[in-house]
Amino acid sequence: MGTLMATRSVLHFRDVGIGDVATVGGKGASLGELLRAGIRVPTGFAVTTAAFRRTVEHLTVDGEPIPGRVAALDPADAEGLAAATAGIRAVLESAPPPREVADAVAAAYAALCDECGNPDLPVAVRSSATSEDSAEASFAGLQDTYLWVHGAESVLAHVRRCWASLYSVESVTYRLRRGIPETDLGMAVVVQRMVGARSSGVMFTRSPLSGDKSVIAIDASWGLGSAVVSGDVTPDSFVVSKVTGEIKRNVATKTRWHRPDPSGSGVVETDVPGELQDVPSISDEEIAELAATARTVEAHYGCPQDIEWAVNDAGEVFLLQSRPETVWAEKDRARRAAPTARPFDHVFNLLGGKRPTGG
């Protein structure tokens, strides 16, 4: 990527790929890469790490630069930490960012509205971490997602809330204890067209239970995916064989769903109407399309994937995110079979009884 792009405050998904994690974070890079692989993702843009840095450098707390203020904190002083981080968050959320950053975000949102033909386009605003370390990401509060956000001003406000979450007590404590310098801090924010999700969920391109790579495991429920990710609902579970396409179904009673607030902003969590609770939340055709999409993504990346997806009212499948599956990747290394001198030596190895190994 050229230096020009690396310094821009916003970048459209179509202009980024997997090599741009440092600029647009893991989510942003992954969405750009999915687009390149020909996968349908909700369109949008990333507010870059450059925009974040520029803002942090621009703002001060009580006349003091933010990085210096954080570096001076004592992780053991809980009270001091709480007060100081609250101050920093308040500034990030309320003090105006550099004009150039604010303008860039507003312009990108306006362009997105044009692209989608909706002047008041609802979007999802989600933090996009630059770190590969999932533990860090979760401690650092980098999992923020704000759904059904409208209007340029509100979009910018939610971007700033994502930034501010980097200065939560937990996040700062984590950095201080790990000795991670504030100058290394980077975070991007993804702004993405909201999919009117009729159903959504997650899927793995191998079994999360057994690690089996010959199946795709799909969890699905009504409404927005937040209900599945948060564990608010027991989802339907479908296991699809990559080899035969056979589907093992386990349709759950889905009691709760997350839906856009009818007032026009945010999300409400309510009970699923009785007549929908025991109905499969996706059709066999949708399962087949999800499985095919999952295989495309897995083949594109060359390793098993953990994918968030949604299906809109028109039955169109969208991917919201894809990242490498990590739990089983580690266990794979521990296994296993190698060829023998003669094929029937395998029989001897299995039926040989408790002999010294290697026989």
Binding site: D212, K213, V243, F344, H346, G353, K354
Partner: protein, 602 residues
């Protein structure tokens, strides 16, 4: 888990009306007091019904052969052979494991040398095996029951033979038993090694792809030119010929085969051509048992045309409607190779792929034997064997000893020999056989006993709960795993509306159950019903065309019922142990072939 136990053999209660059943079986098949401390399981797969006295030979002889093969010929490292016991007419078995590690090591050295020789020369040995087994079949077919006239024929004297025909009574009866024994040795000759190759690939697949169904492993190795499919293929050809010759109107559901044959005889050239084609197909392809070859009353198609003629009307109808019933072997072979190729591609490393290729290759090398041996052994040879014994039964009827030929099957084989000596003596002395007075009350009593015992429900296992059952040989040879045992121990927990077994063929279907206890009722099955039966033998294949799903008491995922169900693409749950007891004809049931569960809905 010492407090857990299956019912002890010594505590099994007598069945009213079956007193004296012990005399039907040899002394060495009876439970001993010390057997309470051992683990026994009911071999429902091979012996789903009460074993008549003569049919005791179908456990006695196979277990002499299987054990000899694993313990003495090939020296399997972790196992000797199988011991069997009979109680209340049911066969229980247990494996004798080799637990001492030093002994396992010694046995392993011999195993490598001996099994290695067979694996390394497999194709040649299998070719020779086929010649030997066909020779044995010719031998059993050639056995003649001697005719005892007033005088022996003149040639016996002038030809210088020097001995009278009653000598042949014992010799030829013995020859039947001896040939049966030899057949079983050849049956097991390649079988255990073949299963060994299969279980290696199976275990590998289960480790690499834990979600893979058992049936998928079978699909990757399945042969295309399988002997067991031939009888059904021949039937379809006959149906085609009937359509071609404009004889289709004679094949209607429920028609008596004898009447159909008579009607064909009145249809001139066309009828004669069809009957000739039937005769040609019968030898050898109708030598297929309606059961699994362990009971005398499981006749072959050739002996009783009920089963094939129950299938013909539908085939005729389908072919007349323009359907192509020939097995799409090319497509099936392509599908098999595609599946194997895709699983292979999912393996991570070249090393694993190379190991996969070796195991699959070995499996496919041994599989033609595994798939075909049953036709030659349990079907062709065994149905001929029982017909010979039946012929000796006819002789005993002629001599006044028995009332019906099939009564011979209520005598143990050593008792039959006694009865033949009786005949031999009476013919020689000019006296009268004493057997009528002796055997006829015994036969009558044993018929009552068999009837009484058939109402007994045998526990799946007896005796001590084994501590661990992880030996792949035990799993391979007898299909018993720790999970099986847990299921048996917890078997009483459910509410009775659910029956569990092996998921043998995928899919979920609801339908009306047709419980079929007797193969002769096969004509009752109606389109779209769920077949529920003790065992689905390969020869039932034809009815699979009209049922929606199959459920059996016995059988594993490699049973022929499972193979046929997968071929027809219908759900099947096999090895349930109790489906025919829990489900009634007319029940609405859901068959879940993905999970191996059958639910009675009402």
């Amino acid at each position: 888990m010492p407090e857990r136990s299956f019912p002890l053999p010594s505590q099994i209660e007598a069945v009213p009306g079956a007193e004296g059943w012990e005399a039907m079986y040899p002394y060495f098949s009876r439970f001993q007091p010390e057997d309470d401390q051992r683990f026994w399981f009911y071999n429902s797969m091979h012996f789903p019904e009460v074993v008549p006295a003569f049919d005791g030979i179908t456990s006695e002889i196979p277990y002499t052969a299987i054990g000899a093969n694993t313990a003495r010929l090939f020296s399997f490292p972790t196992t000797m052979g199988i011991e069997y016991r009979i109680i209340n007419g049911r066969v229980y078995i247990t494996a004798n494991p080799v637990l001492d590690e030093a002994e396992q090591g010694e046995r392993f050295v011999a195993f490598q040398e001996r099994a290695g020789h067979y694996y390394a020369n497999w194709d040649r040995i299998y070719g020779e095996w086929q010649e030997r087994i066909e020779a044995l079949i010719a031998d059993i077919e050639a056995v003649e029951v001697p005719e005892l006239g007033d005088l022996d024929p003149l040639e016996v004297v002038t030809g210088g033979r020097g001995f009278a025909s009653n000598h042949y009574l014992r010799e030829r009866f013995h020859r039947c038993i001896d040939l049966y024994s030899k057949m079983w040795h050849h049956h097991t000759e390649l079988l255990m090694l073949g299963y060994g190759a299969y279980v290696v690939f199976f275990e590998f697949c289960k480790q690499a792809f834990p979600e893979m169904g058992d049936q998928m492993v079978a699909r990757m190795v399945a042969g295309m030119d399988v002997t067991m499919y031939r009888p059904d293929d021949e039937l379809k050809k006959l149906a085609g010929l009937a359509v071609e010759l404009d004889l289709g109107d004679l094949f209607v559901e429920g028609a008596d085969p004898a009447k159909v044959l008579a009607a064909l005889g009145e249809r001139g050239d066309a009828g004669a051509r069809w009957l000739a084609a039937l005769e040609a197909a019968k030898d050898p392809w109708f030598n297929v048992s309606v059961g699994d070859g362990f009971y005398h009353h499981h006749l072959s198609w050739a002996d009783d045309l009920t089963v094939p003629f129950a299938a013909l009307p539908r085939y005729v109808e389908q072919i007349a409607a323009g359907e192509d019933l020939t097995r799409p072997t090319e497509r099936l072979a392509g599908e098999r190779d595609r599946i194997a190729g895709e699983y292979r591609a999912l393996l991570d490393t070249e090393e694993e792929k190379a190991a996969f290729d070796q195991m699959l290759g070995l499996c496919r090398q041994v599989f033609p034997y595994i798939e075909s041996h049953k036709f030659y052994c349990e079907h062709w040879f065994t149905t001929r064997f029982f017909q010979k014994i039946r012929a000796f039964g006819s002789l005993l009827v002629e001599r006044g000893v028995l009332l019906a030929a099939d009564d011979v099957f209520h005598l143990r084989h050593l008792e039959v020999e006694d009865a033949l000596v009786d005949v031999s003596l009476a013919w020689a002395s000019g006296g009268t056989e004493l057997g009528a007075r002796h055997w006829q009350p015994i036969v009558a009593e044993r018929k009552r006993i068999v009837e009484a015992l058939s109402g007994w429900s045998p526990p799946p296992a007896l005796g001590a709960v084994p501590e661990a059952l992880n030996d792949p040989a035990v799993k391979m040879l007898w299909g018993i795993t720790q999970e099986t045992i847990e299921t048996w121990l917890g078997g009483d927990d459910d509410d009775g509306s659910t029956v569990r077994g092996y998921a043998a063929s995928p899919g979920v279907v609801e339908g009306i159950a047709r419980v079929l206890l007797n193969v002769n009722d096969i004509g009752q099955i109606r389109e779209g019903e769920v077949l529920v039966c003790p065992v689905t033998a390969p020869s039932w294949g034809p009815v699979f065309g009209k049922i929606a799903a199959a459920v059996s008491d016995i059988g594993g995922t490699m049973s022929h019922a499972a193979i046929v169900a997968r071929e027809y693409g219908m759900p099947a749950v096999v090895g349930t142990g109790m489906a025919t007891a829990r489900i009634r004809t007319g029940d609405r049931v859901r068959v879940d072939g993905d999970r191996g569960v059958v639910t009675v809905l009402g």
